[in-house]
Symmetry: C2
Subunit: 196 residues, 2 copies
């Protein structure tokens, strides 16, 4: 009883996901039509709608697969999932390295080019990573953990975007150092520090 996979269906879905990725690299997400996708994937129109309700559904399903894969312990991608719990930014260095290697893909996903859905999905994935690495106790209950997580994720994406747009020549380690400096100690080391 193969619970769910017909090879044909699996091939079709893989072809569609592949086509989506290819076309996003080429034209960006917003500019894509379902027509483009099924042409690229060489799949019938009705077949597409038999699997997904539209291009957004296809995109979401792709991220769902990615998230499942990251969650899977026996996956290679779970390298940083050790949850060291002593460095709340433990993920950053590896992520910047990864981003440098797959710059094209990151560029299409980050900074608006990927659309609102993509941005949101990426935030969810990163939030999960950051949450696992964050120490369970924070001095002073004035700042909710949840806010801290969002703050870190936002800062990371900002850094990534700035890197790609303004200083693509920098090394991952240099960018990581800037990121960690800003997030850990904030602005005060950089300015006169009078006001507070």
């Amino acid at each position: 009883m193969p619970r769910e996979i017909d090879r044909r269906a699996a091939r079709t879905r893989k072809a569609l996901h592949q086509a989506l990725l290819t076309l996003m690299l080429r034209k960006g997400y917003e500019a894509l039509s379902v027509q483009d996708i099924i042409d690229e994937a060489d799949v019938g129109r009705s077949t597409f709608y038999a699997h997904y309700t539209g291009k957004e559904d296809l995109l979401r399903s792709g991220f769902q697969m990615l998230r499942d894969e990251l969650k899977d312990p026996r996956s290679a991608g779970a390298a940083a999932a050790g949850g060291s719990h002593d460095d709340p930014l433990g993920f950053s260095a590896a992520m910047f390295e990864h981003a440098a290697r797959y710059a094209d893909h990151y560029r299409t996903m980050i900074g608006g080019r990927g659309g609102a859905v993509t941005e949101n999905e990426i935030r969810l994935i990163l939030s999960e990573m950051v949450r696992q690495e964050m120490p369970p106790t924070l001095y002073g209950d004035a700042i909710p953990r949840d806010f801290v997580v969002q703050f870190i994720v936002g800062a990371f994406l900002t850094t990534l975007n700035w890197w790609f747009e303004r200083k693509p020549g920098l090394l991952p380690s240099e960018v990581d150092a800037m990121f960690r400096g800003m997030v850990l100690d904030g602005l005060s080391p950089l300015i006169g520090d009078q006001p507070r």
Copy 2:
């Protein structure tokens, strides 16, 4: 020789901008069609295309007007434009207050609901504000000013979004305190602070 304004054209444009704002509040930007806009504005189809190339053009033009207005010294909105130069986050308190008062509008613009163009335009406006308030000298040239500006803007938008989504009950002053705390001093006051 009135250099550019025919009253009819002005009325048409105003109606279109008004319609766009109304519909964005109701349905969000992405879901809008040009058809919706001209119906709401009660303007002929050909008239629309005589003024703008599409809905994105209309949106951009709206932000252009806003930016000009903010730049204008005799405008009321230029209250914080004094460029105090001693507090790099001087803008924040007033902005959080403003956001609380016009929460509906902010919600439609922030957090994906406004589309990539809106997000980008808002970043441009905020970047300009932050840049003006930032001291011209930073200790250590390791961190580019430009990066700091983006970092602050990103943190502000993250904070705003978190506020709306998770804790809409908080007071502007409370949110501002959290924002300033995180941006000025970073994470280290909150954690064990061993690693560095």
